[in-house]
């Protein structure tokens, strides 16, 4: 874990340690190829299946000194140092100026400060807009010129247009499951991205992830993964979203800390997932079936 207390400007943050990531398919190759071609990427998948971790991992991976030459025979990618990585969690009140920047009042007048997107564009960072559909429609339109051949960010209030630095890549994530029908991604937006779908890992893979991330032994983590698989069967039948790998890892960590498995699963899975008593009870029964 990174040492605490370090304060960085948004564009200075880099992923310096290799994050743990277990590839589930060809997503790494896809992302690398997209990055080389500067094609924006849309990551689709349920909550907690590892989208953010994947982007972090890719940011670290792409920030490594590149040894291979890309197909076109061009020079190695631009930088030697780690690649800046800007994450913006989108919420329903996120406005365009939250992304681009705004005037702040100063003793002598106003002062402009760049928003995270502007900074990423200027420094050539990987900019990750998490849960992009949550944001207002006007923000999603804002990224349009950035995501086609133009790679431009117009800053209306300054009357400027910023050209994206070479390393800039926009990655957005989107969870088709739980958003209401109203909050679908507009087609004009979604057709600017290649789309990589994430699903839950298989039982064995998930067990490996849980075991690695939480430190519990594989036998326990396979049980946790089994629980995850069973609970996900309940999706759309009382549960709007299946249990995330993240939650299973939390449960694993609790077990690792000496909490009884049934109890850990209860607080980490059952209660975390739903408030519906009936569904809770059902999950509880699955838990008590799996754990002794």
């Amino acid at each position: 874990m990174a040492p605490g207390g370090l304060v960085l400007a948004a564009e200075e943050f880099t992923v310096r340690e290799e994050p743990y990531y277990l590839p589930l398919g060809d997503e790494i190759e896809l992302f690398e190829a997209a990055f080389e071609q500067r094609i924006p990427v849309l990551l689709k998948g349920p909550t907690g299946c590892g989208k953010t971790r994947f982007v972090e991992y890719m940011s670290w991976r792409l920030g490594r000194p590149m040894t291979h030459i890309s197909q076109g025979g061009e020079a190695p990618l631009d930088d030697e140092g780690p690649r800046p990585f800007v994450t913006v969690a989108c919420h329903e009140d996120l406005t365009a100026s939250d992304l681009v920047g705004r005037y702040l009042l100063d003793t002598d007048g106003t002062r402009w400060i760049d928003g995270p997107l502007t900074r990423a564009v200027k420094t050539g960072a990987i900019c990750y807009l998490d849960e992009v559909v949550e944001a207002r429609k006007d923000t999603t339109v804002l990224i349009h010129p950035l995501t086609d051949y133009r790679r431009l960010l117009p800053i209306e209030k300054l009357g400027q247009v910023v050209e994206a630095a070479d390393g800039f890549l926009l990655v957005i994530s989107y969870n088709p499951g739980y958003q209401s029908a109203l909050k679908d991604l507009k087609h004009s937006t979604r057709q600017r991205f290649i789309s990589v779908e994430f699903t839950y890992p298989t039982r064995e893979q998930e067990a490996e992830i849980i075991s690695h991330e939480s430190g519990v032994d594989l036998a326990v983590s396979i049980e946790l993964a089994k629980l995850g698989e069973k609970v996900r069967n309940l999706k759309e039948h009382g549960l709007s979203e299946g249990v995330s790998t993240r939650l299973l890892i939390y449960a694993g960590r609790l077990i690792e800390r000496g909490i009884e498995p049934r109890r850990a699963a209860q607080v980490g899975v059952t209660w975390a997932l739903t408030d519906d008593l009936e569904v809770q009870r059902s999950i509880e029964e699955v838990v008590t079936s799996i754990f002794e």
Partner: protein
Amino acid sequence: MSVAGGLIARNRSRFDGFPEPLLESYEGSLRALEPRLTPTQLEAWSQGGLDLMAISLRSWESAAEYFKAGPQLAESTPWDTYEQLAREASDLTEQSAPLAVSFLRSAPATLTHIGPNHLAQWADFGRRLYKGNWKSSSLAAQFYDSGPDLFGTIRVSHAGRLVLFLDELARHSYELAAACLTSAPEVLGRLEGGDRMPFLTFGVELAQTSWADSRLYFDRGVPLIQRVHGPVRERYLTLAAQVARDHSRSVFQYFEDAAHALGEVEPDDHGPVIELAEQLAPHSAYAAMDFISNAPEVLEKVRIDELAAWQNHGLGILASSKEGGEAYFRLQSSRGEEILDTLSARVELSKVGDVLRLYAKALTGTNISIHASAVLTEKGIGWVDEERASTEGTTIYLPEVMERYRNKEENFASVKVFTTHQAAHLEFDSFSFGFDRPSTLFDDLRPTIPESADSNPATEIERFFDLFPDRTLASDLHEIAEDARIDAAIKRNYAGIRRALTRMQREELGRRPEVSELPLRQAFVENLVRVSLDGVDAVRWPAAQQDAMSNGVAVLQRLGEEGATVEDAAEATLRLYQLAMSVKNEREEGDEEWDSLPDMDQESLQLDMSDLGGEGASMEMGEPQEGDVEYESPQDIDFRGDFKPELVQLLMKLRDDAELGDAGQISPDQLTEEQLKELLEKSAEIDLDTLLEGDLQNTTGMFLSNLLKEAGTPTLDSDAQSDQPLSDLSTGAEEGEEPLAPIVTTYYYDEWDFRAQDYKPRWCAVKEAALEEGEDDFYEDTLKEYAALVAQTRKQFELMKPELFRKIKKLSDGEDVELDPAIEWMIDIRTGVSPSDKIYWRRNKVDRDVAIAFLLDMSASTDEEIARRDQQYDDSDDDPRKYLSWWVTKRRQELAAPPKRIIDLEKEATVLLITALETIGDDYGIYGFSGYGRDNVEFYVLKDFDEQFGETTKKRIDKVTPIRSTRMGPAIRHAIHKLSETDAKVRILVLLSDGRPQDHGYGRDRTEKEYAIHDTKQALNEAKREGITPFALTVDRAGHDYLKTMCEDMGYEVVGDIESLPRRLPALYRSLTE
């Protein structure tokens, strides 16, 4: 001359003027008594009679009876008695001669029963009944007359109580008393001695409190009493008497109900039940009786020793609130039900079904339903046992109630084991057997066995079973093998229920029949069952034939390995079958020792296994040999339930075919009827005889059509329709068919009992149906009539339409700096004043997300006409011509435009509101309610939430008419249910009524207001709790008083001027949602 002769001669003259027979009886009497009495006594006796004659005009009649009675007395009767009789006779005669006649007439016979000592008492009883009028005299006379009969059965002390009873009754009705007295000897005679006194005691209480029931009690009481266990009858009656003393209402009803109820309880349990009731009686006699009356129902859920705990809870409630406690014991309280549930050890499928459904879904990943086994057996498709768990591929069937253990957790655990086993059949693919799919653990023998050429199996598993000459044995072995595999898989995958499963396996092992008494082949199978239950140590087998058994066990145990498939179970079945056939099915004659299997080392077993597999090429399936006892299947194992792979595969196939058929395709290997019939005849899973009665041909046909119905295929025997195009069949409706009756859906809701401070569980039935459709005239007319208002309303509501982005100013953070405050900010800075930092603005997205349910009172009172504020006729001006002309004008007006009723205004208001709502686009539902009684709360849908406004709605408004009562609570609760199904952020419930809630049984009686108002208030509170804003609107001018109680802190309004309602309602709505 004898003493008698002397007396007669002396007294003859005194009989002058009396009828001749009197003298005759006098003479007869004296002569008969002469031998018994001394001369002095005889004279005294004679004098007694003579004195009687002198008492009054008619007293000679009693004297005549006196003379007759004397000789009839038993010879041993002491002189005292004669004297006493004379005294009593004289005394009675003084009161009423006919009374004395009756007394004397039955005295001799009565005395034989009661003995001389009780004569005075008996006479007293009669006197007590005599009140000096002729009715009482005849009752008393009847009492004396019935003396012999009565005392033939009862003792004097009983009679005392009976007289008390009669006396009490007589105060109300002599006829009733007489009738009871007539039947008394017979009624009391049917009772056992010890029961009579309490029976009468209760009777007395009954007579005092509700005398009219006494006749019923006398007529029906005895069989009722006899339902109560003998030793406690007296206590029961004492208790009932206590109830009667404390209360006066429907005492007999309580008595009858309780006695009936006790009849349903085990006699041995009567004692404890009555004892518990006795503890309740000091607090509330009603509670005590209700406790007994409901005992059978309660005892269905709890055991007798848990009853005390339930009663104790109730006692606590009773002590703090009498009403609450009484509701508790009436089983009309949610608290009572909860406690009952907690105490009850049994697990009801109806309560846990939903949890299990999700549980099974989680395990299997498919949509599983959970139903009671009875549902499956009713379908008549091959399953016959209502108590056993099973599955047919899409649904898991479980027994309705589980009460095997003494506590709830264990019972639930066993239901869970049942469910898990069935779910595991689906999870681990028991039904997806493929004949040609290779197994993973064995060398496949299936391809090596010659298949019969003429068989045409419908399913894969049928094809497999076709390999075996003895299908029953094969089926049993396959079930054992498959269940062994499933149980092992469960134990491996679900550590959590391992313990419960192991426990059930152990219990099953304990229930197995003695193996050494079985014929050898059956013993072999039985041993395999034991092994499958993890009971290798329970295997007993003749040591001499150890090989077959050891091999069998080894084969079976392999199925416990990880990765074993249903095909492995099939391969194991083949091997086990051969091994089973290698032993004869006969009883072991010799004294050979049956031993447990020696410890086997794995290697030798593996070797045996491969030997077995090796011979595969020349595999021959054995057939039952001559001399064998007929094979019988092993005893069932409870937690595994019924396993019928053939039927399940068949159903699955039929379903697939049906789906293909629906899609307009015909499955390439569509099943033929012959195939089906063949399967049914062959299969060991179906016992047609037990399935349905009737001849085989019929049965098979019925069975087939049941199967097809279940699978969703059109029945094969519908040949007549087969030339019609398929689409016609699917629409179902024929032309010219009667319109269907509206579909009524019933919902149950609790009702709040403010006295008990508790809910009455599932008290009201709300019947929801779409309202009939009329014409849309009303709707259009209203729009015309209120054209101006409509336009105005529309405009107002259009203005309300939310702007998608509304600019909010003066924020400390926002999208951008706002100019004016920014300038002020600069000025402040420059002038050295502390500036305000609220200089930003932002657009706020406002989504209007409102759902409103509108409840319309359709009670009969809305039929009332509205008093028009037309010029009233002025009474002071009494010119008849003016009156006439006023009246004529009024009539004319009324004919032209009939006076509006409250309901009409309600409807008009609704129409206007709809216009408004359609303009603004809010989600809304409009409902009407009425009904009568708690079982029949009618709830009419004018427009449901998910329904589009259209012609139907318009036409339905026309049909809104006053119907019956106003039970608001359940209607509100149902509207809450409707609202909570919408996912709007703001939810509003508007209740429009014309008066206070009122219904039959909505309170103690029709005049009681509190109950209904409290229930309505509680319902409105529930709405608030659900996050719904309730609003009550009434056109009842007297509404303030009850609305204040009903809507304490909620919005309400009394529309004083009724006619302004159509205008008021949309305005109100605006203010509610803006």
